[in-house]
Symmetry: C2
Subunit: 421 residues, 2 copies
């Protein structure tokens, strides 16, 4: 017998037919003798509808009232799933954020969970009742509804799993697991049986949109194994013995054979970065600080940085990437700081993409990087920048080459599925 | 300076444009220096949408979870009205049922309010903040969401007005007041300046669908003056000096001239009753009890009763009315009890309507009734039954004559507006 937290996203909850299907999956999990809590999202589209109401009511809406409005979407689905489960003969009840309670910081519309009192929930689960919890919401110290920001239901699920000391957190989504790369681009992409928290963090943050990054970080901190699986592909529900999804676990929990499987676990891409180049910056101590200090003050996150030797002696070109959403702000900040920095021209470029290869099995970045350079050069893909971390090598390339680069690298690192179409 | 509770129904809250209009009316009330709390319904159609979700999820849905689902409609509008008010520069915040709290009995989907803690609300209002409260909802002793049944927001508004000791409860609806009769049928119907609680109870219960009956009873008990007015007809908002709606007040608060205005205040009609006749019932003590006891046990509300002398000596015909929704059940109950009662035939008739003339100024029922009989007889309308109460005379007629009877009586009692079209 295990204690399981299951989480279903908006696509799984979109309409009564799908909620009934979710109820069957949950019931089957409970029927194996497991204690079950379920975290639900709002029906797909419902949160957008509610957010738009707030925006129409006022462009400068009060975040506290926004939370009152948008939290209602998950309240609806948690009640409906309870009803659907009861109609299958299961005992179930909804637990709203303020009822447990799920305490968060005051920061409305982007709150962080502080503490969850899991005692009532644990008691109900031990008594054989399925607990249904609306994701994405909590209650502030002041007793008002808070929400965790879009996609926050994954984080709710992991936090609740930690609070009730669950053996596993199953995240049901519209993809059936974590793939070696985006299967819509690379048809030979393979579903991974396991990835480590660290790998998943890198894969999530660089563009594999399976789980909210925050939820993976929390799961790593709390030691909650996550399973990603689909509520759509299987006809029956997945059982405890036959797990078709991807397990996200600590590196120490990984089996030896898994560890040694390959150097690279997956390849991610991110088209949401832009490049800025400053030409003819004085090549002297402090010059680079003059560039990045004003950006940091404006809370702009700088990612890759390259410094080239300029055409004139004593000068250099500096290139770096920022999130595309911050590009305009970054340009303004730098223009204002031109005198202090002393650059000649400021050149923005949105036509770039970042490709990242990720793997805890990575022993030498040099080997990984040389495979990368060779494979990309053979197909005429130019590398504009490169960065590495403990378990990742990223390159910046022209955006139009993204799909080509993914396919080339997927083959180069031996990730292609043998039986794929 | 006064303390006012304002209530807006679903039609007034249907969409952001209308919520903005409501915000203007509320703001104007607050700008006169009054302390203001606002009770809101869900957007028109939204509660139906949520109720249908529950029904689709299970025909035997759990009322506690139903309450979780349907209470979300008012949660949304209370947040949106707060945002709309803030965008006009007013200070406003939403107070959900569990936040005040509004304590109700456990009876989910048809709860009654037990107590309201108005202290936090009063303090906020005294501090110049407009309090926005979702109608229709409360919290049970167990800490779960309850709802008051359809139309419950009127009752919420009156209960909150009592809790904060408001000077007045303004109910904004899609009609602009209480009329002498249904203005869609009688074009010469007049809007009433004042009616007493007792009159309104009779008018509401016999079919003038302006206010939920329960809310009028509560207002009478708590001594809360109600004003019914429209949020649509006026271009600007009504001010405290110029009240265009109908005031519902205690008889003692009515001015002398108002009291003496006329015998009859209004005429209501109700097409939702059906007639049942039992022929040849033994004309002996206890026979009538044998009829009505099984109906009472089945919780069927019997209204008008007439006993005719039958064709045979020692026998009588008994006729009475029940709500049309209970007709089938009443027929089943009576058929089962046929041996005990000893009737010959059981004749249902849905083709009846009840017409009621109401007025606290009524001194002699005889005078009222004779005017009624004469006016109806002159136009060939047959009276099938008659009942009276302290301030009401009701007759049962063939349903097809309803509109004719209303017009005839409206003129006969001198209620016609002089300047009507």
């Amino acid at each position: 017998m295990a204690r399981i937290v299951m989480k279903f996203g908006g696509t799984s909850m979109a309409g009564i037919e799908r909620i009934r299907r979710v109820a069957q999956i949950v019931k089957q999990q409970a029927d194996t003798g497991n204690e079950v809590a379920v975290v639900v999202s709002a029906m797909a589209g419902d949160t957008d509808r509610l957010v738009n109401f707030c925006r129409e009511a006022s462009s400068l809406y009060d975040a506290a009232e926004y939370d009152v409005v948008v939290a209602s979407g998950e309240q609806v689905t948690s009640g409906l799933l309870s009803i659907a489960l009861q109609s299958l003969g299961a005992r179930a009840r909804s637990w709203l954020g303020w009822q447990m309670p799920i305490r968060t910081v005051e920061a409305h519309s982007k709150a962080r969970i502080e503490t969850i009192d899991g005692s009532a929930l644990t008691k109900a689960m031990q008594g054989g009742e399925i607990a249904i919890i609306p994701g994405f919401q909590g209650i502030s110290e002041e007793g008002r509804i808070t929400t965790l920001g879009r996609g926050g239901s994954d984080t709710s699920a992991v936090a609740i799993a930690a609070a009730v000391k669950a053996d596993r957190c199953d995240i049901y989504t519209d993809v059936d697991g974590v793939y070696t790369t985006d299967p819509r681009i690379v048809t030979r992409a393979r579903k991974l049986k396991t990835v480590t928290f660290e790998e998943m963090l890198e894969l999530a943050s660089v563009g594999a949109k399976v789980l909210q990054t925050r939820s993976v970080g929390l799961a790593m901190k709390e030691g909650v194994p996550i399973q990603v699986l689909s509520s759509f592909t299987e006809d029956g529900a997945p059982s405890a013995d036959d797990l078709p999804g991807t397990m996200i676990i600590a590196e120490g929990d990984m089996e030896k054979e898994e560890m040694e499987r390959q150097l690279i676990t997956g390849i991610a891409h991110d088209k949401n970065e832009s490049k800025i180049t400053l030409t003819r910056v004085p090549d002297q101590p402090g010059a680079v600080a003059n560039i990045f200090e004003p950006l940091a003050e404006a809370a702009i996150n700088v990612d890759m940085i390259i410094q080239n030797v300029g055409r004139e002696k004593g000068e250099t070109d500096v290139t770096f990437t920022v999130p595309s959403a911050d590009l305009d702000l970054a340009m303004q900040v730098l223009e204002k700081a031109q005198a202090g920095i002393g650059f000649n021209r400021l050149i923005p470029d949105t036509n770039v993409a970042k490709i990242s290869v990720v793997g805890v099995g990575m022993k030498s970045h040099a080997g990984i990087a040389s495979t990368m350079f060779k494979a990309l050069a053979d197909r005429g893909v130019n590398i504009q920048a490169i960065t590495t971390s403990e378990i990742k090598v990223s390159v910046l390339i022209e955006e139009d080459y993204t799909e080509l680069a993914l396919r080339v690298l997927h083959t180069a690192y031996g990730l292609d599925a043998e039986d794929a179409v």
